[in-house]
């Protein structure tokens, strides 16, 4: 019953070409949605599928769409392809292997919500993939899946690729909007949420690449089928990206709820020769760290929340026993200090101080009170910033400091 959904045809060499994609049944979901379904029916189906956001927050996509108000203003779709969360590379695979699956999701989502312009905001480094997307978009125009009066449904849609330029913060949805509008990526105060006041002050749906890529499968196979691929409250599969000290790093599409232990030791081939497991970051760098004793856990949103961590972008970074935890903390602290947009004082100053303290410890000049200072600074960041970057920094820093306190103390 459980099968691969998103990555099923990834082995096909030219899947990114529309002809090959169509031979695999591609664009049948679009035909079904636009010719046989009403927008309200699509919304109902996506809601029933319990498709939760794959970018990190896990918010149900159908519910998000339903927040878009009826209005005369234009509505927009922004696909978040910024993929900046350290450890995450799944969207790169989706977009390079199967860009039309993403486009189908974009078309159906836009039809459902009443959107006539969609932007794929892709991180600047993915230039080659941006070109591939543009190629796929032009193929879709040629075949009449984009443009005016798509499949004679009266529905119009244009899709554009917009490249970022190297700023982690632009993966945060309101920073992404600011960036798309041609500004610095400084997050906005919420509420209002983008669903009602988004791009150019208009209602805007923002979903991650993987989230949108699931839509065509839900339309073709139904919500009930989709839920069966995962968990009742958490439908579908998840593309886990495994990196770090494992034998076979890469992407693994598995049902939500697969055990973390199995992902590391069965699917990713276990630890590299001579290495033992020390810790795992289970959902991108922002997710609180798990120790080797904590990996017997189901990988779904709720199980990880119970374990005081998070599924986030499902990016699993595997850390071995030869790696000093101080080194890990140094990389984490440097990253958030570098990527803070600078707008909120607790994040800007807090992360820079934490970074300085950690660096000092690494230079052998640590003071007795340093670990408590780090925890105090982190607690002053958490919850006190406009956007989740503050929390995203505090969570791993606090969990590393608390769970590996003894090892860190030995460095003071």
């Amino acid at each position: 019953m459980k099968e691969k959904v998103l990555t099923e045809h990834f082995g096909l060499e030219s899947l990114y070409k529309i002809d090959v994609y169509q031979k695999q049944g591609g664009y049948r979901a679009t035909e079904k949605a636009l010719k046989k379904m009403k927008p309200a029916e699509i919304l109902e189906e996506v809601k029933k599928a319990n498709l939760r956001g794959r970018g990190g927050a896990g918010f149900p996509a159908g519910v998000k769409w339903s927040f878009v108000p009826e209005t005369d203003k234009p509505k927009y779709l922004c696909v978040n392809a910024d993929e900046g969360e350290p450890g995450t590379f799944k969207d790169r695979y989706i977009m390079s292997h199967n860009p039309h699956m993403l486009l189908e999701g974009i078309i159906i989502t836009s039809f459902c919500v009443g959107i006539s312009a969609a932007f794929i905001y892709i991180r600047g480094e993915y230039e080659a993939i941006a070109l591939r997307l543009e190629q796929a978009i032009s193929e879709a125009y040629e075949k009449g899946f984009l443009g005016k009066n798509i499949l004679e449904s009266g529905f119009d849609l244009d899709v554009y690729v917009h490249r970022g330029a190297g700023a982690y913060i632009c993966g945060e949805e309101t920073a992404l909007l600011e960036s798309l509008e041609g500004k610095r990526g400084n997050p906005r105060l919420k509420p209002p949420f983008p669903a009602s006041v988004g791009l150019w002050q208009c209602p805007t749906v923002i979903n991650n690449v993987e989230t949108i890529s699931n839509i065509s499968h839900i339309i073709l196979n139904g919500a009930e089928w989709f839920v069966k691929q995962g968990l009742p409250k958490d439908g579908g599969t998840r593309i886990f990206g495994v990196s770090g000290m494992v034998k076979n790093p890469g992407i693994y599409e598995l049902p939500l709820g697969t055990s973390l232990k199995d992902i590391i030791f069965k699917h990713a081939g276990g630890m590299k020769e001579g290495k033992k497991l020390k810790a795992v970051i289970p959902g991108g760098m922002s997710a609180p760290i798990l120790t080797a004793d904590e990996v017997d856990i189901k990988m779904d949103f709720d199980s990880l929340v119970e374990a005081n961590s998070m599924l986030g972008s499902a990016a699993i970074i595997v850390i071995d026993d030869k790696t000093s935890i101080l080194d890990v903390l140094k990389v984490v602290a440097k990253f958030y200090s570098h990527e803070s947009c600078g707008q909120c004082t607790p994040c800007r100053i807090g992360n820079s101080w934490i970074n300085k303290i950690v660096k000092r410890i690494a230079e052998g000049k640590g003071k007795k009170e340093d670990l408590d200072s780090i925890l105090r600074l982190a607690s002053n960041i958490e919850g006190n910033t406009l956007c989740p970057l503050g929390d995203a920094a505090a969570m791993p820093i606090v969990s590393i400091t608390k769970k590996f306190r003894k090892e860190l103390e030995s460095k003071l």
């Binding site: 900046g84 450890g87 480094e125 509008e181 970074i317 990253f335």
Partner: protein, 157 residues
């Protein structure tokens, strides 16, 4: 110094502007093509872009100083960006950077005197399964080690 965009770039910029209901949204994509044409974005290019989009040059500078991929100084012909984030760090990115520093004779952030190479340490490039990874201009290279990078760099003219 009077500079102008090439005809090709001018056309590209027009295409970009047409995508957006508001001209300002074209700023970041236009800066990408500007950097592609001139190699960097100094005050001169800032003014050119501002003029085309009908905005103040300071609005352009706001972006150039925010986004790390935009450069205010000229870079080497080949910009080597080595990821030093966690997955790459675990697999030896620091040693790899040290190797490049020694090989090229420059520190991260510097350009070789012959303007051939610029070396940068960067945050996650989104290719963690291929750690340690790097980019040279827009090409990705994974599972790097000294031997592999020797071959790659020696092949660049």
């Amino acid at each position: 110094m009077s500079l102008e965009f090439s005809e090709k770039t001018k056309k590209k910029i027009e295409e970009i502007i047409a995508r957006y209901p508001q001209k300002e949204a074209a700023l970041l994509p236009v800066l990408h093509v500007t950097q592609q044409e001139f190699g960097f974005i100094s005050a001169v290019q800032e003014k050119m872009v501002a003029q085309i989009l009908g905005i103040k040059p300071i609005r352009v500078r706001e972006l150039v100083t925010f986004y790390t991929m935009l450069s205010r100084e000229s870079l080497g012909k080949y910009h080597i960006q080595v990821c030093t984030n966690l997955s790459c760090h675990l697999l030896g990115a620091d040693n790899f950077v040290d190797y490049l520093v020694e090989k090229l004779g420059i520190e991260p952030g510097e350009t070789t005197p012959d303007k051939k190479f610029t070396l940068s340490k960067v945050e996650c490039l989104g290719a963690c399964e291929r750690a340690p990874c790097m980019m040279i201009n827009f090409n990705y290279y994974g599972e790097m080690d000294p031997k592999k990078v020797d071959e790659i760099l020696d092949g660049l003219k």
